[in-house]
Every structure is written in C-alpha cells, then in structure tokens.
C-alpha cells in the first residue's frame, strides 16, 4: 500500500515536472520587461498557469494575546480540453487555505478548500481583487479589502486597510525566480495593512486588531526543473518600512536564486539581487506528523540589514496534500536586531519534505 502510494506520488510529481518543464504553448510566459499595472492587474489572470492572493499577518486580541493568521486563495489553470463546453469542465481550479497560529494553546488551526470554478460556487474575478470559494472570500471593497473564512473550528471576518502604496517586486513587478529569465512571476505586495475584525476559535468570537501583508503573484513557469522549494519572508518593519526576501533552493539545499525588495519608511525602494541576500538557517524543528525538519529560526542579511527571525511558535506546519499537494511551514515570525524587535511578518518554507509541486 505504502509503496503504491509512493509510486503514485512519484507519478504525480513526474506529471507535474513534465507539465512545468514543457510549459505548454498556451500558457503565457513572464519575460523580462513585463510589468505589473495597477489597479488593472489586481484581478485574476486566468490564462496563466498559477496565481495566488496571499494574506499573512499578526493579530492581537483585546487582552493583548498575540496570534498569527494567514488566508490564501490559489488559482490554477489545468491542462484540460479547451474545447469542452461542459459547465463542469475544469477550466480553472480554485484552492483556499486558512490558518491561525495560537501560541497560548500551542495550536495551529487550519483548513483548506478546493473547487473548480463555476456554478457560482467558486470564482476569481478578472476586473478586481474578488475571489471566493463558497463562503470563503477575499475582495476589494472600495478603499479596503475584506476577507471572510468559516472553517472547521475557527473562522474570521477581517477588514484590511492599506496605509502605504502597493509595492511592485523586482523590476516593475517582474520577479525572476531562477537563473533562466523565463522562470519568473509577476508580483506585487501590499504591506502594512491595518487589520480590524472578529476572530472565532472553538465557537468563541472576539474582536481583534493587527497588521497584515497581501501578496498577489501569477506565473506559468515559477520553479525551474532543478529547484525543489523556497524560503520566503515578508516583514512589516517598524515605522512603515517593508521587506520581502526569498531564495530558491535546489535538491542539495544550495541557493539557485534569490531576490527581494526593501522599502524604507520614506518610500525609497531598493531591489535586492541574489548577491545581496544571505539566508542562514538556525534552530531546526521536526514535525511530529510528517517527520519533516524545518529551520524555524534564521539569520537574514538583506543589503545592510541584519535580522534574526524567531517564530511565534514552532508548529506552524501546513499539510495541504489534499489541495495544493504540498506540505510546508508557513508561520508568524518576529524580526529582531541586536535583541530589539524590528518588525513582524510571515516566513514560508517549502520543499523540505519533497519537492514542492505547483499545480
């Protein structure tokens, strides 16, 4: 049974590798010179293979209890029969993940959904940020964004208010993910979102406030064949500054590529190149469920900024094998420098168990 499952997993990986490396002709490429144009690009880009809206942030209850939260909407365009007129034809598949990191209870609340677009059950609008899977949603509502999640044992309804302009990552939004120029995404972030709303855990609802980060990224060829995963961090720094940094690793764990964007409190943006970023893993934590080991503490050098990353709690592992197919670590972290808090944000570690599969 287990060997069969392994074989099945290998088969799945193979299919995806093939799909990703062949990058079928009808999936548009992201090439140098491509740019993000807002607000036109806030909606979905259904022709691209993969797209996501990723909200991460820190919350505090009325009593000051700190919590992490994340809600993500993925869109993927499967390699189906374009001529199929069936209303059930899987032209677009939507996936949503939601999690709340609860250090007081040492518990990670998480849930996931997957649906094909259609029948009004799931959709990602092209004109503006508006994506939903049944009653899970993320939408632009005038000045603000609202997100709502009704999950197993927990849920939240939050309003996210931008306080700074959007931040285009890379050159005008063209974010290179590997040595080859075609391995890239279009990518912008909305850091420093002021959060208000209600959070419900185990049937108990309370008001929360906090600060969050929204990423919107789309691509047809994200990882190249040699890459197995990435380390990513998005930090809301003190005083309104923001840092996004990532690196792509190969099977040996050596960096294949890295990139980042640093915006100072005064609004000055600096693009960080691979040579300017150094990720040094620190303490490791082994998941008791999957036996996968993650470096949950880091030393991060970004330009002249030296940061220590400490997790809100160790167990922030997400098992989404039923939806995106991946097992990864996605958690709230605090950024310190010389023992002083410099900011808060989220750290994402993928490809530590098996190669990350992007659908």
């Amino acid at each position: 049974m287990s060997s069969r499952r392994q074989a099945a997993a290998r088969l799945g990986v193979l299919a995806l590798v093939t799909a990703l490396t062949l990058a079928a002709a009808d999936y548009p490429d992201v090439l140098p010179g491509a740019e993000v144009h807002l607000p036109a690009d806030a909606g979905a880009h259904p022709l691209f293979r993969t797209e996501w809206w990723y909200v991460t942030g820190w919350l505090a209850t009325g009593s000051g209890e700190p919590l992490g939260f994340q809600v993500t909407f993925f869109r993927t365009r499967p390699d189906g029969d374009a001529a199929n007129p069936s209303a059930f034809a899987a032209r677009q598949v939507l996936i949503a993940h939601a999690a709340v990191s609860d250090p007081k209870r040492q518990r990670l609340w998480h849930d996931q959904r997957i649906l094909r677009a259609g029948f009004g059950l799931a959709a990602a609008a092209t004109a503006r940020t508006d994506v939903h899977l049944k009653d899970w949603s993320l939408a632009e509502q005038g000045e603000v964004f609202t997100t709502e999640v009704r999950a197993e044992g927990f849920g939240f309804a939050l309003t996210l208010r931008p306080s700074v302009p959007p931040l285009r990552n890379g050159a005008g939004g063209y974010s290179q993910k590997g040595p080859a120029a075609a391995s890239a995404s279009l990518y912008y972030s909305l850091p420093q979102l002021a959060v208000t709303g209600t959070l419900e855990r185990g049937g108990h609802a309370e008001k929360v406030t906090g600060s969050a980060w929204l990423d919107h990224e789309w691509s047809s060829a994200y990882l190249d064949a040699a890459a197995v995963g990435w380390d990513w961090v998005g930090l809301n720094l003190e005083g309104g500054a923001a840092l996004m940094a990532f690196r792509i690793r190969d099977a040996e764990g050596t960096p294949r590529w890295a990139g980042g964007t640093l915006r100072a409190a005064d609004g000055a943006v600096r693009i960080l190149w691979p040579a300017e970023l150094r990720f040094t893993p620190g303490r490791r934590w082994r998941s008791p469920r999957t036996q996968v080991e993650y470096p949950v503490e880091w030393q991060l050098q970004a330009g002249d900024l030296m940061l220590e990353l400490k997790p809100l709690m160790d167990d922030q592992e997400s098992d989404s094998r039923l939806t995106t197919g991946a097992v990864y670590w996605e958690g709230a972290v605090e950024a310190r420098s010389a023992g002083q808090r410099l900011g808060r944000g989220y750290l994402e570690l993928t490809g530590y168990g098996e190669r990350l599969r992007l659908r």
Partner: protein, 833 residues
C-alpha cells in the same frame, strides 16, 4: 438418572451400530451432510454476495447524507447549481453515471466525478485520485478499478475505445486504482470530461450531498422540491434497493436448498425407522434388562443427534467449499447476471457455521422422532419371541392430521405475498407435502391390498410387500418426497419455458432484429441511420424502439420504458387485460404484469410518469405479459416520448425483409450501415429466440442441479431400505432356495418388489407433484417474478422420469439382493450391515 441411563443405553446401542453397521451410519451421516452442505452453500453464496453488494453500495455512497438520484436518464445539471448553493450543504458531489459501450464489445460503468470534492465523501474510492487530480483533468482521461483493468486487459498508459452512437472515441487510461479501492468493474473520469466525451452534456445521474453538522436530514430532504423522477435517498435506502433487486431469486434458491435438507431429514427418518424395526429384539432385550421406555426413546434420539452433529459438521465444511467454488466459478448471483463481475469472498463466520451444524442436528433429531417413539413402544415379551411380526400401521390415526394439513396447505396457497415474497406459498408446499407423507402408509396399504399377481415370483414379491407395509411405507415416503418435489419443479420450469417460448414467438415476428447490447447509455442508432436502413434494397419494413429506464420508487429497481410504435405496429403486445373505462383523452401506456403487482397499476387508471423531469399523465390502456423484465416495463407510443424529450434515437429495431431478399447478406449490410461495432447486434429472429432460451436454461441450471441432488438422496434411501430388508430376509431367501426357487428367481422377486415400490412411489409422487406444481406455478412463481405462466403438463418427460425411477428402484433392489444372496458375500456383508 434417566438421562445418564439414556446416554449409557445410547452409547451401547450406538457403539454396537458403529461396530456392526458402519456403512448404514455413514449413509445417514452423508445424507445429512449433503443436505446441510447445500443449504449452507446456497446461504453463504447469497449472504456473501449481499455483504459485498452492501459494501460496494456503502463505498459508493461513502460519507454522503443524501444521494440525489435521477435514474438512467438523469436530470438537468441546474439542479446541482441549486443544491450546491444551499447553505445547509457542506459538500455537493456531482456524478455522471453511464454504462458505456466498449468498441470491443460489452459495457463499462463509468462514473464521472469531481475528484476535487468526491474524495471528501468517498475517500476509499477516490482517495488516490484527490491528491493528484491534475492527470484526471486531461482530455479523455480515465482511471480504471483494478477489476476493470484486469477484465479489459489494459493497464495505465493504454487506450480504450468506446462506442458513442455510430462513432468511436478513444479514452486514455491514466491510472489503475488499487485493488483495495473498489471491488467492481468501474471506470472513473472527471465529471466535465465525462459529460463532453461521452455525449452527456448538461446532465447528471447523481448528486451526493453531505450536510453541515446539525442540519436535520429529514427536514432538508422534505424541502428539496426535486423534479419528477428524481429522488433523494438516504444511504440505507440505496442499499435496500440493491438487495431488493435479487431478493426473490435468492429466496427461491434458499427454499430449494431447504428441500434438499428436508430430503436428508427423510433419509435419517428412513434409516432410523428401519434400524428400530431391525433391532426390535435387541431393544426389547435392553428393556428386559431394565432400560426404561424413556431411556430407550432418548437413546434413539441421541443417536439421531450424533448422526446430525457429524453430518452437520461435515456439511458445514462442505458448504463453505461449495460456496467458495460457486463464487469463483459463477459469481455472486449463481450465473443469473445480477452483479457485474465482482469478485466476492465467502463471508462465513463461526456463528453462522454453528447454526448450520445445529440445523443438521435438529433435522436429524426430527427424523429420529417417530422411530424413537416406536422404539419406546416395543413390548419386550412379545418382541423377544422369534418371528415377531411388526405391528400394522394404524391407519385411522393418521387421517385427521393429514387432512388438516392438506386443508391448511390449500388455505395458505391463497395467501398474498409477504414483504414481496411468496412465504405463504412455501408454507403451503410444506404442509401439503407433510399431508402427503402422512397418507403414504394408507395409500400403500390400499393399493397393495388390491394388487393381484398370478405367477409365483410376482405373487411372492407382492405378498412380501403386503406383509411389511410399515417398512415399505418408509421407503415409499422417501421416494415420494424427493420425486414429488422434482415433478413439481419440472412442471413449473416446463410451463415457464413453454410460455416463454411462445411469448418469444409473439414478440419477435420480424425476420431480423437489431439492438444495442448489452444495454448502454452511449450506443444508439440515429434517425439518419434509420432512414438509410429503410431505403436499403431488400428491406420491406423497419420498426424502431427506444428503451430507457424510469425510477418510479426509490427502493425498487428501475422500470423499463419502451417507446415504440403501438397503433401502427407489426409487433403485437401480448396483452392479457384491456381497459374498459373510457380514456379521458390522455396518451396510452401499456403496463407489464409486474407493474400491476409492484405499483398497483390497473387498466383504466390514470398514472403519472416522470419523463423529461416532469410528471406526465398517461392512461393505462392494458396489461401485457413480459418475461424479459421482472422489475416492470411500460410501453408508450414512441412519437409521444420523442415529443416529450425532444430527441430521437433508437436502441432496438425489427426489420422485415422483402420477398426473395437474402437474410445473411442483408444482415451484414445492416451491420455495416449502423456501424455500431461490437455493441450493436444484428441477429435473425430464430437465432435470437435460441439464445434467449439458452440463457433461460442457464439461469435454471442451478435449479436442475439441486433437484437432481434431492432425487439422488431419495434413491439412496430406497437402496438403503432394500439392502436392510434383504439382509433381514436372508433366512427367507435360504428357505425359498430350499423350496426350489433358483437364485435368479429370488433376484427377480426382489427386483419385482423394487419395481412395485418404485411404481407406487412414482404414481403417488406424480399425484402429489402435480398438486405442488399448482402452488409453484400460480403462487410462488407469480409472487416472486410477477408474471403469469400457462400451466403445461409435460406428460412425456414425466412418464420417462417415472419409468426411470421404477427401473432404478428395481435395479437397486436387485443389486442389493445380489450382494446378499451370493453365498460368500453373506458372511462378508454380515460384518458390515
């Protein structure tokens, strides 16, 4: 004190028996074993099939709270949009379910599911697909169950050609599901590609719903407002529906197995009764030595129980073996074609097997009951005298009970079906048989007293039988039970076959017939093809039918809806009743007999049929006989149906040839024209009839086998009885030889006795069998399968079987006599018998 005394007596008697007559005991044990084995075998096959059926149903339903079903035609997918949007619904899983014709012949059930949501409801079935749904979304991708891959001889990476109307399409087998996922033959596709690839756009057959925690399923169900013909079933109802499909068939087999067991009980009765008679002096001696009546009686019963326990144990083991063999060779429905190629493991637990051992003991003790009573009645002083003649059967005592049982049997035969089963009918047969057996001694005494023989050898035989009516009656009873049941079954099957044969002739009047076979949802003949067919040179007339299914009651199997020309048709409907009431201007429907029984359709009634998602009113213009579909069939005018569904396609047709047209060439041209590959059968009427009758015989093969075993057990009893009598009469034979009779004449006398007994048994058995067959034909068959038969007495075959029985009895008697009268054999056999 009495019981330990009885055990001691029993041990003494039993040990003596075992030492002196091991073969006799072995035969009794063997008879019980055979009966139990058959009963256990049939039961285990049925039970295992049902368990597997239930498991498969549960696996298909999974964690769903409600299953929305729309029969074969399905329903508009708009219903999915409506239900999935309801706030009470947590998961709504759309399913396309089609029997797809394969280009290479045969069909495959294909489920078109949404792997993104189905895994939440049916993890066992789709778990493997959920984590890697991407390959399944590829165009024409299909995953096969292990069973399907094996039976089709394909593996992942292969192609599979399917027939859609006159076109063929190729599916890509992307994966084979593990054996543990699903036991039946099945293909899984993505719902969207199934709709598109298999020509089922816009329609679904099923929606599986899981409701949010706390939602009242019953209230939600009541609020659904489903279209006509669509039902919301709870998983329990879905399972019952599967069991209902085969229930009558299963119960009939159970009953046949019980008949075999009953015959076995009779054999125990016969051996025990004869043993008691033979051991009169031995038993009398025990009485004289101080054993009480009660002890003696208990001793004989214990002996019966021991025989039963041994036979039961052997039988249970044999039953498991039979079930294993049958399931492997014939499948869970014993070849009747209800289940689709499932591999079923025997479900035999210890308590079930213990129950069968207990059944063997009970049956054997019941068989020993009368002999035990007789043993207790022996008067020692009289019995110990040499040459004690046994008591004549007290005929008068037997009459009232027999008559009462017979009257009860007749009354029960008039009873209605119980929970859809002819249980009163079976009880009636049991009572009638009991009455018949009670009357055997009376009959034997009456007939034997009237027989006169002039020549010395037959006269001797007759005199001997007349002198031992009680013993003869026991042998006779064994013959009567098995032979009468065989006669009854033979009459029933013959009537059925005869009616079926004539019916086939009526419904197949054309020269050639074509049809999509096996029935599928994807293969059909288009109107353009039909037109071309009519214009073929040599074709005089064509009549086209469309057969689909309707679901009228959630717990019943679907009903066949036959849309065909009615008013201007050359294929008559074999009507048995017509409406006399005036038609209020509605379209007509003709209902098969099963519709009358299962849905209470009556001629002259107005009924609503769910066609095209709406209830349509029809006038029941008549009832017709249909041997093809025991679940019910409805015939309506094709033009009416086509106007309702806005679609013209055909699944069956009849072709009349022009004079002097060559059937064989035309058949090939029609085949080429319709381009249906292996799925479309074009066949001459005669051949079709032959195949139908062959299928009929196959379905009844198991019945014949069970019957033959019952008769064999009966004949075994006859042989046994003769052997014992012959041994008991060694002195008599010696005397006869002394008086000048040659050995050949002694043997002839014995054979004559056998023949007379056989003839009596055959005559009486025939009489009883005819009575029982009336119950079988008019009650059991009618209530099980919902169709009426014309009663036909197969005089020739019955006479032949009767003669065979008489010959077998004579031969058995002669053969045992031969063994006994051969001088050297006497001593050798004495050790044994």
């Amino acid at each position: 004190m009495t019981s330990t005394g009885a055990v001691r007596v029993a041990l003494t008697v039993f040990a003596a028996q075992l030492r002196d007559r091991p073969l006799r005991l072995a035969v009794a044990v063997g008879a019980i074993a055979l009966g139990v084995a058959l009963a256990a075998g049939v039961y285990l096959v049925n039970e295992s099939a049902l368990i597997e059926f239930g498991r498969a149903t549960r696996q298909l339903t999974g964690a769903a709270d409600l299953v929305i079903r729309g029969g074969r035609a399905g329903f508009d997918e708009a219903l999915f949009a409506r239900l999935a949007a309801r706030p009470e619904v947590e998961v709504a899983s759309p399913v396309v379910e089609l029997d797809v014709s394969l280009a290479a012949g045969g069909t495959l059930t294909v489920l078109g599911v949404d792997p993104l949501v189905a895994g939440a409801l049916q993890p066992a079935l789709y778990g493997e697909l959920v984590g890697r749904f991407v390959p399944l979304l590829a165009p024409q991708a299909i995953a096969l169950s292990a069973r399907a891959a094996e039976s089709l001889g394909v593996s992942a990476g292969d192609r599979l050609a399917v027939q859609l109307g006159a076109r063929q399409r190729t599916l890509a087998v992307i994966a084979v599901l593990p054996e543990s996922a699903y036991g039946r033959r099945l293909g899984v596709m993505d719902v969207g590609s199934a709709q598109w690839t298999l020509g089922a756009l816009g329609r679904l057959q099923r929606i599986d719903l899981r409701l949010r925690a706390g939602v009242d399923v019953a209230r939600f169900r009541a609020s659904l407002q489903l279209p006509a013909g669509v039902d919301a079933l709870t998983p329990q109802v879905s399972e019952a529906r599967g069991a209902n499909l085969t229930r009558a068939y299963r119960v009939n087999l159970d009953m046949l197995a019980l008949v075999a067991l009953l015959t076995g009980a009779f054999l125990v009765f016969a051996t025990q009764a004869l043993a008691v008679m033979r051991r009169r002096q031995q038993l009398a001696l025990l009485r004289a030595l101080g054993a009480t009546r009660a002890e003696l009686r208990l001793a004989v019963l214990i002996e019966g129980a021991a025989v039963g326990a041994l036979g039961g144990l052997l039988g249970a083991a044999l039953g498991v073996a039979i079930a294993q063999f049958t399931l492997a060779a014939l499948g869970g429905d014993l070849g009747a074609g209800f289940f689709d190629g499932e591999r079923i493991a025997v479900a035999a637990d210890l308590s079930t097997l213990a129950a069968f051992v207990a059944l063997g003991i009970a049956v054997s003790v019941a068989g020993a009951w009368n002999p035990a009573r007789d043993a207790a009645r022996i008067a020692p002083a009289q019995a110990l005298k040499a040459g004690d003649a046994e008591a004549a059967p007290s005929v008068r005592r037997r009459l009232p009970l027999a008559v009462g049982a017979a009257l009860g049997g007749i009354a029960l035969a008039l009873g209605p079906p119980l929970r859809g089963l002819p249980l009163f009918g079976y009880a009636s047969i049991a009572l009638l048989l009991f009455a018949a057996v009670r009357l055997v001694p009376l009959f034997a005494a009456a007939v034997l007293a009237r027989l006169v023989a002039r020549r010395p050898v037959p006269a001797l035989a007759l005199a001997q039988l007349n002198g031992t009516v009680a013993q003869s009656a026991v042998s006779l009873a064994a013959i009567v039970v098995s032979f009468s049941l065989m006669v009854a079954m033979a009459i029933m099957v013959h009537s059925f076959r005869d009616s079926f044969d004539r019916w086939l002739g009526e419904v197949l009047p054309a020269d050639l017939h074509f049809r999509v076979t096996p029935p599928s949802d994807t293969a059909f003949v288009s109107p353009a093809q039909a037109l071309a067919l009519e214009q073929l040179d040599g074709v005089a007339r064509v009549e086209l039918w469309r057969v689909t299914q309707l679901s009228l009651a959630p717990e019943q199997p679907p009903v066949a809806l036959i849309a065909r020309p009615l008013a201007a048709s050359s294929v008559p409907l074999p009507l048995i009743a017509r409406a006399t009431a005036p038609n209020p201007g509605l379209p007509l429907v003709f209902a098969s007999e099963a519709m009358r029984d299962l849905y209470a359709y009556r001629p002259g009634q107005v009924v609503e049929l769910p066609i095209a998602g709406r209830p349509q009113r029809f006038f029941v213009a008549g009832i017709w006989r249909d041997y093809a579909r025991s679940g019910g069939a409805l015939a309506i005018e094709r033009s009416v149906f086509e106007a309702l569904v806005h679609e013209a396609r055909y699944t069956e047709g009849s072709v009349w040839l022009a004079p002097r047209a060559d059937g064989a060439t035309l058949r090939e041209r029609i085949r080429a024209l319709l381009a249906g590959g292996e799925t479309l059968q074009v066949i001459a009427a005669g051949e079709l009839k032959g195949r139908a009758l062959a299928a009929f015989d196959r379905a009844f093969a198991i019945t014949y086998a069970l019957e033959a075993i019952a008769v064999a057990i009966g004949l075994l009893g006859v042989g046994l009885a003769f052997a014992m009598q012959a041994l008991a009469r060694r002195a008599e034979f010696g005397m006869l030889r002394h008086l000048g009779l040659r050995r050949r004449e002694v043997l002839a006398m014995l054979a004559g006795e056998g023949a007379i007994l056989g003839a009596l048994g055959a005559l009486y058995g025939l009489l009883v069998g005819v009575v029982l067959s009336l119950v079988l034909v008019f009650v059991v068959n009618r209530q099980s399968f919902h169709w009426s038969l014309d009663y036909v007495l197969p005089a020739g075959p019955l006479a032949l079987v009767a003669v065979a029985l008489i010959a077998a009895a004579a031969l058995t008697a002669g053969l045992t006599g031969r063994v006994v009268t051969s001088g050297s054999a006497v001593r050798a056999v004495r050790e044994d018998w």
